[in-house]
């Protein structure tokens, strides 16, 4: 910033702060961050353990998805239990 700008009071607004605020708005709006909460992988493991206590399933047979849509979250759990072989 030149001395002239300073004297005439044409001080630039802190542009880094502007950038951050604009990005915050955009990123929330676009919902590009579909990341689940940190506990999701651990929870998946534990659910798997509980299920495998009762039925035999393998890793691939359990799918967890977390979807966000305006104001609420949906936790979707898909378990495929193989047919019982007697």
């Amino acid at each position: 910033m030149s001395i002239l700008d300073y004297l005439t009071g044409r001080r630039r607004k802190n542009s880094a702060q502007q950038a951050k605020e604009r990005l915050q708005m955009v990123l929330v709006h676009e919902g590009a961050r579909r990341r689940g909460p940190d506990f999701l992988p651990q929870m998946r493991e534990e659910i798997l353990q509980v299920i495998s206590k009762y039925v035999e399933i393998d890793q691939e047979q359990l799918q967890i998805h977390l979807d966000r849509s305006d104001g609420y979250e949906v936790l979707e759990l898909n378990v495929v239990i193989p047919e019982k072989r007697d």
Partner: protein, 269 residues
């Protein structure tokens, strides 16, 4: 155990290839057998940055299509026996790569005993970029402290979390943030977003920051990964990044303005 590490960003020109070159050279320098693959089919550049452009006979597409063996296509680095390069094709288009084909090559590289497979992603979020990250165990998300780069990084993080093999299997790709062209002076002046703001926006931990440096252009002119420009800040930053990636504790550098002594002030640099 082989690790597949994808270097990605969404936005072009932020330093993916520079980072891929230095990151893989750094891993090799520390004794890890490493291969770096250029996924930018049609716009290959990794060979130039690595300085092996005149030794490319067969490329990644040739291997995927079964026109050459992996052994024929792998180029051994001139300076480091632990480092190999797999160049992209310059003449084909992105459709030449398939998920199955890439998977086969990665499996074969694993069998050959490579410890790290570094995938240099093309820009964008289309097929090429998605293929580059599909098999990733970990990802380096290269970001400039600038609005469009941060937004695009957010997009690519979303894709890592939904379209990667790990994500499909219910797991997740481990993500690392690599900030490039960071300028602490401008951050202090309020003209550039600070590293912690970007970490907060993206929700990814900082692996390291690479300061804006003329050494990066100098090294690319010479066809040498900048990590080998010993004594430069960029090399030190990439050495830190590699060390932290390998689990070493190293305090962050290049995030604050270095206080210059009187002599430095007078004589520059």
């Amino acid at each position: 155990m082989t690790k597949v590490v994808t270097v990605t960003s969404g936005k072009g020109g932020v330093g993916k290839t520079t980072t891929s070159a230095s990151f893989s050279a750094g891993l090799a320098e520390r004794g890890h057998k490493t291969v770096v693959i250029d996924f930018d089919v049609g716009l290959r550049n990794l060979d130039l940055i690595m300085g092996c452009e005149r030794r490319v006979v067969y490329d990644f597409v040739n291997v995927v299509q079964g026109e050459a063996s992996l052994k024929q296509a792998l180029i051994r680095d001139k300076h480091d026996d632990n480092l190999y390069i797999l160049a992209a094709s310059q003449t084909r288009d992105k459709d030449a790569l398939t998920k199955e084909g890439v998977g086969r090559v990665i499996d074969e590289l694993k069998e050959m005993g490579f410890e790290y497979i570094v995938c240099d992603s093309p820009a964008g979020i289309e097929k090429g970029a998605q293929l580059a990250l599909y098999y990733a165990d970990e990802a380096l998300v290269v970001t400039n402290p600038e609005v469009s780069s941060v937004r695009d990084s957010d997009r690519i993080l979303g894709i890592l979390q939904s379209k990667s093999k790990k994500a499909e299997e219910g797991g997740s790709v481990k993500e690392h943030l690599v900030l490039t062209r960071y300028n602490p002076e401008r951050v202090e002046a309020g003209e550039m977003m600070a590293w912690n703001d970007i970490v907060e926006l993206l929700g990814v931990e900082l692996l390291g920051a690479v300061p804006e440096s003329e050494d990066v252009l100098n090294a690319s002119n010479a066809g040498m990964p900048v990590i080998r420009e010993k004594g430069s800040d960029a090399a030190a930053a990439y050495e830190d990044i590699v060390a932290r990636f390998l689990g070493e504790e190293r305090p962050q550098r290049f995030l604050t303005v270095e206080k210059k002594g009187l002599l430095k002030k007078l004589f520059g640099k």
